[in-house]
Each structure stands twice: as C-alpha cells, then as structure tokens.
C-alpha cells in the first residue's frame, strides 16, 4: 500500500521525496534542522520516547532529512508529544525540535492527517473564544462564588483563524 508506514521495513529510494527536507526548511520555525547532528539528547530526555520508542525526535529529524514524507506525516505518534520542551532544553546544538515538530504537524494537518479532537477544539473556539462551551450550570456555579460572568464570543478568534486558514483543516486520512 502506497501510504503504509514503512519504518520497520527497508527504505526504498523510490518512496522517498527529495523535496521534503526543503519543504520543511521553508518554514522559518524549522530552520534548526540543518544543525542537528543526531546525537539523540532530545530523545534521551523525552518522556514520550521513553514509553513509546516509536516516537523519537532524533529519528524523526533523520527521517525528514532522508525525505520519508509519508512515514513522518501519517505517523500517529507525532501527535503524542506532550509539549514539555525537554528536547530543545537539552539540545547541544540549540535545535528547537519542538518547533520542527509543530511544522511537521501543520504539514500533516494540511494533508488531512489530523486527530479529530484538535479540529473540534478549533470549531469550539470559533464559537466561544474558549476551548469549552459555557453552559447554564457553569454560569450558576460561577455566580454562586461571585465570580464575574464569562464573555463567550468567538468573533475575533474566528476571523483570525480564517486568516490563518485553520478553519479549512479537516480530518481526511487516518494516521497509521
């Protein structure tokens, strides 16, 4: 199958995308990629890599450089990152892997590899400006503690999200 995760099998040159690396590097946030010398300090300090060896910042950086576009973008593990920033905190080359990962997730999302909860959250903030709805139970609970009324209006948020094109991102493909 064309889009099958190939990380466990041999890499075939015909499946590599020679432009992937430059596509990623076009994003200013990913500019540190070239400085990475694959020492693995990022992976050693990553709490997720410790539990799921399938998620490895070091390996992902290498895969981008090799052009393993589909393997990287369709991987469900890129969404496991807990955003703890340990990877960049401990990098001897000052590579901001957290930012590179976000570029990869953005690219995956554009292609439709996107977990539904994040899409739903975007839809919610366009309505209320917050990632949660504000229902009557909450309104009363807040009133009982004399906390101010929450304004729930997502108009400005919606406008900005549309300008960034985030409203167009929909889950189309299943991450493997």
């Amino acid at each position: 199958m064309e889009e099958k995760n190939r990380t466990k099998g041999p890499i075939r040159a015909s499946n590599l995308d020679g432009h992937f690396r430059s596509e990623v590097l076009r994003h200013e946030e990913a500019s540190g990629l070239n400085a990475c010398f694959s020492c693995g300090a990022c992976t050693a300090g990553c709490p997720i890599a410790e539990i799921f060896p399938e998620y490895s910042p070091r390996k992902l950086a290498k895969m981008v450089k090799l052009g393993m576009k589909i393997d990287v973008l369709s991987s469900p593990y890129i969404w496991y990152c807990v955003t703890c920033h340990n990877c960049e905190q401990h990098c001897p080359q000052n590579v901001k892997f957290f930012k590179i990962l976000n570029v990869l997730k953005n690219m995956a999302a554009e292609q439709g590899y996107v977990p539904t909860p994040w899409v739903k959250q975007t839809q919610q903030i366009m309505k209320t400006g917050l990632i949660f709805s504000v229902d009557e139970v909450l309104v009363k609970k807040r009133q009982s503690f004399s906390l101010p009324t929450l304004k729930s209006d997502g108009k400005k948020v919606k406008k900005l999200i549309q300008l960034a094109g985030l409203d167009k991102i929909k889950p189309k493909k299943k991450t493997e």
Binding site: W79, T83, N86, V103, T122, I125, L130, I131, F145, L166
Partner: protein, 296 residues
Amino acid sequence: MKKYALFLGCTTPTQVIQYELSSRWVCRYFGIELIDLEDFACCGINQINLSLEAGLLLGAMNLAHAESKGLDILTLCAACTGALAETAERLKDQTIRDRVNKRMQTIGLEYAGKTRVKHISRVLYEDVGVERIKKGIKRDLSRLLVAPHYGCHYLKPASAFDGFEDPDNPKTLHELISATGACPVQYERIHLCCGGKSFPVSKEPAFNLVQKKLDNVWNKKIDCMVVQCQTCYLMYSDQQKAINEQFKKKYKIPVLLYPQLLGLALGGDPKNDLGLDLNAVSLDERLVKKGKKRKS
C-alpha cells in the same frame, strides 16, 4: 502593588474555578489589582498543532488587548504563560510583528510589543516576595509534607522567561511552599510532565506519565502535591480515580493549587475563599486544623 490584566485561559474558569477563586483571594490579600478584560480568548497553544500562524495570531490578539489598556498580563495556567510569553518573544521581531499587525487590522488591533506576561507564582515571588508572605502566616502548616510540581510551561521555553528560573533546577515553587510554613519534599523525577497536552488526542501516553508521578509521590508518603497549573491539577487530581482503576492502584493524593495552599496559610476560609471542597481528593484536615497562629 502593581495592576495586572487577569488572563484566565479556557480551562480554569470553566473546569477548575477553585484556582480562579483562590488566586483572586490571594491577590486581593496582597493588594495586587486584577483587571478582567472581556476580550481575552484562548491563548492559542493548542492551535499551534494545526497552524503555527493561528497560534501566533491568537497570542498576539491577547497581548494587544492587554497593551491597549496599558496592562501587563497575569496568568494562572502554565501553558498560557508559556504560549503568551513565547508569542511576545517572537513578536519582538519587527518583520513578524508587521505581518501579524497587518492581519490584526481586520479586527481593529495593533500590538507594539509592550506586554509582559507573568504567572501568578512569579508575581507572588517577585512582586510580593517570600518575606512578606511569611509575615502574613496565620495557620500552622508545618506538619504538611508537600510535593511541588512546577508544570513544564512555567519553566520552558526558557528563552521566553528572561532567566527567571533554571528549568533543570527550579526553586521558586519550593521557596513559595516553604514561605507558607509547609515543607517541600524532593521526590524522584520531579520534572516529569503531566501529559495534559496530549490527553485530548490519546489517553495512553498521558496516563503513563501521570501514574509514574503519582507513584513517586505516594511511595514517599508525601501528604499532598502542589501544582501551579489547572491542567496539571486535572491530570493528577481528577484523573486519579481512572488511574487507580487502570493501574490497579490505591493512590489517594490530595492535589492543591498553590494559591489554595497559600490562602490556607494566610487564614482564608477553605470553602468560600479557596474552594478546597471542590478538589477531587480532599486534604486531611488534621494536618491543618490542629494548627494555631504563630507567635512570631
């Protein structure tokens, strides 16, 4: 004392109102004026997953709202702190700021780059100071052994916090806990993340991390955990039952938000001022109630 725009974020005012309640009480106690801005919305931290640009714009919008009122921001959530501080850092770049401002014209906003972002614990540490906190202590918490949990975004990315803390060896929460009279305890893997940011997508990685942390705290027989972020709070407190079921454990660890602990020490009403009864696992009152006012 300085005035701040209070940035509540999404989760605190909807899911963990005891954090908001106790923070407001503590700030009032020390004369820190908090201004509620109607226009604040989500900080954008989760949106960066799908669009870095959307995250940047949402952060900029919030910074611009505060700037238009001439205020710096006081945050409660560690993640909002990290996201907004990092956005402010990025917007120091004139080219990026120009691009963002051009886009924000459509909602009538402009950001000049003046807003500073400070977490409530940092405000308490820097603006109030541990010495002044110590002087206000009315309840004796000296029996209480506390496991501090900092929260990743309170410390990182370090570049966004102008050297306030050393992420590898943080000290402010330890000192703030000591100031209340309670005893901060070192435990294994104190820096471990709560996993909250991947929780909406997949429970498994987050639960693994939470279980490890709870286990380390439980094995050390510590009385409670103290956190400074509502997401960390939810992961360790509200998810504790689910963790017990999944991992066949019997953890019963109370988790307090720092302003609750501080408020308790300062003599606040546990229920009405600090919302302690809203916490999923309650604190053993014997550790506090027997306490008396300090003579000094």
